[in-house]
């Protein structure tokens, strides 16, 4: 049995189901991401795990113990909120120490643990500041430290990085992953950002309209999306209708076809003839729009040098690896 088991969980507001038939699990020390578009029920699911929102059916097992009806104070679960939820009237140190004070931890141990965890999230030196004197990234690290210091059995993170700018988000993401591995923490991380999910997770649970669409490793979801929704959500796929794909690849398909842009080779000596329409620069990758047999495709190529850039109108040949052509429902 896994460390965290969620079985047939459902929740509704009035007659409207928020989510239903939710089954997933997490092993000890695993980082599972709940990924999905806004309003798919992932945040409510997280609140149900924490005990902050009551469930309408199913059960939650943590470390062999059923916690479905246990008060949030006694679940041994900590949570990091999107809004940080730092106590504005307390300093960084008092915020972090709050949970230990509630547990009546001895003063010397409290001091030691708070100092330790502040060092872990690289906040030493800021102990005496108030939340309003900190940047967004620092605030979220205080929130993380406050959750870590109580040594929770399970740590929940509700879109903790979405209010931060891209560079800080990346840095904090790596920091969370490092700490999670160091402490062998079990984490459930909610996000709507597929890049965040792919880079962080051991496993991704992809949700849509209150249901789990696919549950698997990041690699599986990326390379073997179950349907067009997964393909569209998890990566920048070329999604072609069956007849369009048939025209391009010269054979018949019964379903839609998904082709990843980086699996198409441009400089092949033989293959399908095409013409560059335009390009956009995505940092280390150039994304071309190529028209071949009347079908427009995205093709990703590593950005090696400015001289290798193909101008609009250039004639190219496309080679598409057989294993990268996926039929999706």
């Amino acid at each position: 049995m896994s460390f965290l088991n969620v079985e047939r969980l459902h929740k509704r507001y009035g007659a409207n189901p928020v989510f239903s038939e939710i089954d997933f699990s997490a092993s000890r020390g695993e980082l599972v991401t709940l990924l999905g578009p806004s309003g798919c029920g992932k945040s409510t699911l997280l609140r149900c795990l924490a005990g902050l929102t009551p469930i309408d059916g199913g059960r939650i097992m943590l470390d062999g113990e059923e916690i479905s009806n246990v008060a949030p104070q006694r679940r041994g679960i900590a949570m990091v909120f999107q809004s940080y939820a730092l106590f504005p009237n307390m300093t960084v140190r008092d915020n972090v120490a709050f949970g230990l004070r509630m547990q009546r931890t001895r003063k010397d141990e409290l001091e030691r643990r708070v100092t330790e965890v502040l060092a872990l999230v690289e906040l030493d030196g800021l102990e005496a500041r108030y939340p309003h004197q900190l940047s967004g990234g620092q605030r979220q690290r205080v929130a993380l430290a406050r959750s870590l210091v109580v040594r929770p059995r399970l740590l929940l993170l509700d879109e903790p990085l979405s209010a931060l700018d891209a560079r800080i988000r990346r840095h904090l993401r790596e920091q969370i992953r490092r700490i999670q591995r160091e402490l062998e923490l079990t984490m459930v991380f909610v996000t709507h950002d597929q890049e965040e999910a792919l880079s962080l997770s051991d496993r991704i649970v992809l949700m849509r309209e209150g249901k789990i669409v696919q549950n698997g490793s990041a690699e599986t979801l990326y390379t073997a999306p179950k349907d067009a929704f997964v393909a569209g959500f998890i990566g920048h796929y070329n999604l072609l209708d069956a007849d369009v794909a048939g025209r391009l690849l010269d054979r018949s398909f019964s379903n839609r076809v998904a082709i990843r842009p980086e699996s198409i080779q441009l400089d092949a000596s033989q293959g399908i003839a095409g013409e560059i329409v335009d390009h956009s620069l995505l940092g280390n990758v150039i994304r071309y729009r190529v028209k071949a047999r009347g079908v427009e495709l995205s093709v990703d190529v590593l950005n090696r040098s400015a001289s290798s850039l193909l101008a609009p109108g250039s004639q190219v040949r496309l080679a598409i690896a057989e294993e990268s052509i996926r039929e999706v429902a």
């Binding site: 949030p72 679960i77 939820a85």
Partner: protein
């Protein structure tokens, strides 16, 4: 451009003059030894103030006013704070109802509601007319809108639900979380609202005069009863009262601005 600016300045100065002139005249009159047939007072003296502040009847009235205001505000805080918390946290939809309710004391003119209160509390088991208790109850309803508005703004500024959730998950009970996480963040708004309500209530006359009158003489009723006495003396009283209100309002503004206490 310059002419428009001149015009704006003129309007502001004129307004200021209209507002300050009566006060300045009262101040001067309260400091004058005699001022009747001449353009300027005959001489200046602090005598009226000394007499006022050593007058036992004035001091008693002032004390009573303080007591009634403090009582009403303490009562309001004790009742409104928990009620607001429960509404904001458990029944946020009731906020709309409360917004209508707190306007009711403004909807009925004091003279009209006094008549009603006189009828209701003149006899029977709750014969409160003539006692300070009816004033405390009355002032409570007047202070309610000020307190409620200020606290609602404060509550909206903090993420109440997330803060409570975070505290709960860290092991705090609802009571403990409200006490150590929510209440300290409302302190500033509460103090400002209390001070402003105080400066407003201490000048209240209609209810005090109609419901209690001389049976429990408050500051404004005392001032009214003194109207046939020396004008210099009542001027000193008005200026003293004004200084108290000014001081309290200044303190409220000061607290409202101070960023370090946020």
């Amino acid at each position: 451009m310059a002419r428009a600016s001149m015009y704006h300045r003129l309007v502001v100065w004129l307004l200021l003059l209209v507002l300050v002139l009566p006060l300045a005249a009262t101040l001067l009159y309260s400091l004058a030894t005699q001022w009747s047939a001449s353009l300027l007072p005959a001489g200046l003296t602090f005598d009226w103030y000394l007499r006022l502040w050593s007058e036992p009847r004035f001091l008693a009235a002032f004390g009573r006013s303080l007591l009634v205001c403090a009582g009403a505000l303490a009562f309001a805080c004790l009742l409104v704070l928990p009620a607001m918390f429960v509404i904001a946290y458990h029944f946020p939809r009731l906020d709309a109802v409360m917004n209508v309710l707190i306007l009711l004391p403004f909807a009925v003119p004091p003279v009209v509601s006094s008549v009603g209160l006189l009828q209701l509390f003149a006899g029977g088991p709750l014969a409160l007319v003539g006692t300070p208790w009816i004033l405390i109850g009355c002032y409570f309803t007047i202070a309610l809108p000020f307190l409620y508005r200020a606290l609602t703004n404060n509550l909206q500024a903090i993420e109440l639900r997330d803060l409570m959730d975070a505290a709960h998950l860290l092991g705090a009970s609802t009571f403990r979380a409200a006490l150590s996480v929510v209440l300290p963040n409302l302190r500033k708004g509460l103090v400002v609202a209390v001070l402003l309500s105080f400066s407003f209530l201490i000048g209240e006359f209609v209810f005090a005069n109609l419901l209690v009158g001389t049976r429990y003489e408050t500051l404004q009723v005392y001032l009214n009863n003194m109207r046939n006495g020396s004008g210099h003396f009542t001027s000193a009283l008005v200026i003293s009262y004004f200084m108290v209100v000014l001081l309290v309002t200044w303190a409220a503004n000061r607290l409202n601005r101070d960023p370090s206490s946020s």
